[in-house]
Every structure is written in C-alpha cells, then in structure tokens.
Symmetry: C2
Subunit: 353 residues, 2 copies
C-alpha cells in the first residue's frame, strides 16, 4: 500500500548524497500526492545532511522548497485536484490543537510541527523524506497553491527563503514608510530585499563587500551600507525600524543595534547559537530596542506571500541544476558561490537508474 | 536672581556625600519651584556618585525621585499653583520637537532628555542638581501631579522605580490574562510585582532565595520560582508573555528565555552592559521571542501611573531615613539590605547647618 520512489539521500554525515529508493505512503483521505518538478537547495539541507546540528537520522532525503503538480488526491480532499501547481515548504503537519496552530502559526506549534524531512511523522512513526525526490504525499492542509503566472522553478525558494523573510516583515508591520535593513545577501537576504521593497519599505543592505552594490540595487535596495566603514555606519544611526539579519553563522550583531530607531527590532532568521561577542544591553535599554528571532512562517501567511509574489511578479533569482549535481552545489554554497539559490530540476532524476 | 539652597553632594567619587550649598535659578515664566519633602534613593544615585559609569561631574547632588509642594510658579504656569503636591522624576526637560517627544516618550528624545542631575541643562549651560536638596525649580511640563490620598513618602520611588516597571508593562500590553514574571526583588522588582498584579496579570517572581517567598506573596506574586531549581524552571517552560528583568548587574539571561511563551519578551530595565555569558539565539528563533530594553518612561505615562497608583492605593515599601544617613544607606543598598527603597525625609536637612 505504498509507492516506491527515487530520490537523493545522505547515508551518513561523511558521504556525498546519492540515489536512494524509498516508499511514499498510500494516500490517506485528506492527502495530496505531488509529482515534484523543482526543489530549492536551502543552506539547512547541507547542515542537516552533514549532521551539523547533531540530530540527523540516515538515510536522509533533504529538500523543503518543493514545487510540483498534483497527481492524485485522497477521497476527502476538497482544495486541490489533479494538475494543480502546488508547493510544500518546511512543514508537513502540526498538532492543530494548540494556541499557535489556532493562530495559523504552525511553525510555533506547542507540540512541534512535523518537518518535511529528518523528522518523525507522529501519524505513522516513520521518518519524513523531503523534496530531493520524484514525489511527495502531504496532507492538503500543508499544501500551498501556486497561482498562475508564477515561475515554477523560481517559486521553489519562496517556500523557505521567501516565507522566512516575509513572516518577520509582516509581523513587525513593514509597509510604506518603513525603513528596513537586511544583513547578508544570500538566499534569504535577496528575498528580504525583494519582499521589503514590494511592501513599500525603503530598503538598505548591510554588506562587507562593495562588489555587491550593483546586484543589491537591481534586487531593490535603495541604499548600501558597508558594515566595515565606520563613517557609513555612523551615518545610519537611529535609522531602521527593522533589521532582518540573515547571516547563518556566528557574528557580532552589536554594530547594527545603534542603526535601529527607537522601538526598532533586529530579528535573527539565519543563525541558531550563542551571540558572540556578547550582546551589549545598553543601546537596547536606552532606546527600547529589541533583538528577536523568527522561524519560517505559518501556512496561512505562506499562502499570502505566494499570492503576493504572483501578483507582484516576484520570484527568487536561481540557478537550475540537475539532481546529480547536488554535491557540487553544496560545495559551491559553502563558498557563497550562488546567486542566489540553487533549484533542482527534478526531471533530471528520470535519466538516473 | 537665584536662591541659595542646601543639599547633599558628592565632591568626588571617593568621598562620602556631605552638605553642599548651591544656587537654584530664578523662575522662568513656565517654571515651578518645589519645596522638596521626600526624595527616594535609587541605585543609580550610588552609581553616579561613585562615577561607576565614567560620566560624573562634581559636585553632584543626586536624587530623581522627588516629592514636594509647589511654593512658587512662573507667570505663564497654568497647571500648578502654590501648595500642590507634585513630583519630579528622572528628567527635567527634553527637546520637545522630535518624534519621540511628540509621542510623549521624552525618555527617548532624539536630542537627549535633560536628566534631573549630573546633566548639562541646554537652556543655561549649567549642571543640573537633583533632589537631595531643599528645593528644585523645574519647567511645569516635567512636573507630575500627586493625587490626594497617595502617601507622599511612599510615592517618591514611583518616579523612577515605579515608572521604569510601569512603562514596559504598558508597552507590552499587560492586562487581565497576561502572565508576567519578575527577575529580582529590589526597588524595581517589588514595584513590578505590585503594578503587574494591579493591572490584572498573573505574576511570578524568579528569585535565588527561598526566603523571599512570603514577602513576594504579600506584594502580590501568585507564584515564586527558584531560579536555581532546575525542576521549577522546567515546569515554567513556555509560560510568560513578559519577563521584567530588574537585575542591575551582569547576569545570565539564558535560563529565563525558555520560560517565555511564543512571542514573549524579556525586557531588561536594570542592567546596562554586555550580556554574559553569551545570549543563545536558538530559543529566540524557534519561538519568535525577544530580548529588549526599556528606559524609565515618558511624562504622560508617568502621570498615568501615578494616577493609577492613587486609585489603587499603591505606593512603594520604604524605609524613611534622614539626609545625614545617606552614606550608611548607600552601604546598606550595596548589600541589598533595604525593603525596598530608602526615602530621605528632607525635613532632616533643617537641622543641619
């Protein structure tokens, strides 16, 4: 009562990803089966595959920026039908009963959302496998609709990089007149610039490299501030309502705090770990500033973001690769050699036996 | 064109405070002259007198929790008249023209509010002198009305300890149904408990000492959690909407973060400096939590707090001392040997030549 599919898996932290056959469950009443067309390559795929966070279970099929078409629906599915273009992001389920789920914030589910891969599905006790594969089976409540006109390959990164930056932009009420700064120009950072700009904000990129200026402006940044240039940093004092910090490794956030306006927030979306060097509380107290975190986004706001992107013609800047190039892509990602997201064309799997 | 008054001043960081004569300016049109009845002793008075923050100017007359009666008003004063019971807090002026001042948040004035002591008054270029003195002259816009029925000595600490905890309670929308925790049971902490409870919140005190339980409950705490007890901390996981951290020295905030609910904020009101050990961002990201700071409060919200306290019968728990006991009081404060605020009875100055 299941279908054997092909995907790419990590078999250990040390091995490159390779072909892996595994079973997808038969459809439950509310399930949707999706033929995967594209899957974005998130930095966390690399972290997970190499067990950087210490919780890897092998074999692991990464991938949580999934775009595909519905091929089959369960008997109780009302919201999708065969042929629909759909997406699946970082979560495939949540408890549905807690306060966070009731608010449509399944990412903060009190009983922990079920992640799209490297998680135990509490419904059947089996590991979840992600989008580096031919097909996925997901409850309709965690399937997103992809509106006509959205580029399907470029839409894949919206499911993680997009929503991870959209959610704080909306939560902190960014709109016309807001001043937003973005730290780091990668997969998340380039989406943060596009989305903040489209929401009407004045957008600044903090970067260590003057070479990024032209690209940042093309993406929508109004200003570029070189974070190593003390005069430029000084000139930005008290400026930003929200800073979205996308840097995925340990770094010093202290230099950015003075550039927040009173009541401003620096929100970390890329880094989990101790803030080094130590965070100085003085500027937080003196101007009621905050350092916060934010995790992906809920299903409702993901749909909202996808519809907004379709309407505004926004998608990610991507480089399409074949599934068999994933290990090279991981290495290039480690060198930040990607503008700005790899997306796997899953048709490439068809040629692999 | 000025009046010589007596006060107590620090003449250097090393010397005890002693009698000091200085001039108060003649009244400008909008000024109010106040005979000081009581002045609270804030921990920052000690820090300032001993130049712990490196910006002390001597002689320094501390004191920013001032209660007195109006003895004279300038020709354009409309809001006060002779005999009114009034208060003066941490600020005696601000620019009045910036966005923060327009919002009634003079404490965040873009051009820096004029502090009640150890500051240069931009109007005349002279140092400000605080409430450890017979009389003060202040613009009516920075004078607070003390409603009938409020105990005058117990009201003094409301001007700093009270507003410093009230402002975050209001800014983060604490009310019926809120769960608030307080870290540290001193001048600020005991006011935080009283005010949060009166606003309708369920209030928890985090403390390192089981001996504080009875007092905390008397002040209004519903629960006491021993921060060194791992089981009690674990049982508080995900509980609080707001944690008011009043600890005035470097300390580890990491243990408190897991006790915040999703979207919860830990607000620092007592400590300016680097957070040691390092703040871990993981729980901030995973449940959209924040670490913020907050500084005293604006004039409008200080008046709101004073009126609320009069209506609810809330004042600080105090120990009244004579002016000449201030140096002993400083030493006792360093040992946390005060429940919960020293207040100087300024009548004691009359006996000193």
């Amino acid at each position: 009562m299941s279908l054997t599919v092909r995907g790419y898996a990590a078999l250990s932290a040390q091995q490159p990803l390779g072909l892996f056959r595994f079973d997808r469950r038969s459809l439950r009443d509310t399930d949707v089966a999706i033929d995967i067309l594209y899957c974005g390559v998130c930095h966390s795929d690399l972290h997970n595959a190499r067990n950087d966070w210490g919780n890897a279970v092998y074999p692991m099929v990464p991938g949580h920026e999934i775009i595909g078409r519905v091929v089959e629906v369960g008997s109780a599915v009302t919201r999708f039908r065969q042929g629909d273009a759909v997406g699946v992001g970082c979560m495939v389920n949540s408890c549905g009963g807690c306060a966070s789920c009731a608010k449509g914030q399944e990412q903060y589910c009190d009983n922990q959302a079920t992640y799209t891969y490297n998680a135990i599905d509490p419904q059947d006790g089996r590991m979840t496998y992600g989008g580096y594969s031919e097909r996925v089976v997901v409850s309709q409540d965690f399937v997103l609709r992809i509106a006509e006109g959205l580029d399907l390959a470029g839409a894949a990164p919206l499911l993680c990089a997009g929503i991870t930056t959209w959610s704080p932009l909306r939560h902190w009420h960014v709109g016309a007149g807001s001043r937003v700064a973005v730290v780091g120009l990668g997969g998340l950072g380039h989406m943060a610039i596009k989305l903040a700009k489209a929401l009407g904000a004045e957008v600044t990129l903090f970067t260590r490299s003057a070479g990024k200026e032209a690209d940042a402006r093309r993406l929508g940044a109004d200003h570029i501030v070189l974070s190593a240039d003390a005069a430029q940093m000084q000139a930005s004092a008290g400026r930003f309502d929200l800073i979205i910090d996308t840097v995925p490794y340990v770094h010093d956030v202290n230099p950015y705090i003075p550039t927040l306006a009173t009541d401003g927030t620096l929100v970390l979306v890329g880094y989990l770990g101790p803030l080094e060097p130590m965070l100085n509380t003085a500027p937080l107290v003196m101007q009621r500033k905050a350092v916060a975190g934010s995790l992906i986004g809920g299903i409702r706001e993901t749909q909202e973001m996808l519809d907004f992107c379709a309407q505004q013609g926004i998608s990610a800047d991507i480089e399409v690769i074949r599934m068999q190039d994933i290990n090279t892509a991981f290495e290039r990602m480690l060198r930040s050699d990607v503008k700005y997201r790899f997306v796997i064309d899953m048709a490439s799997l068809k040629g692999i036996q």
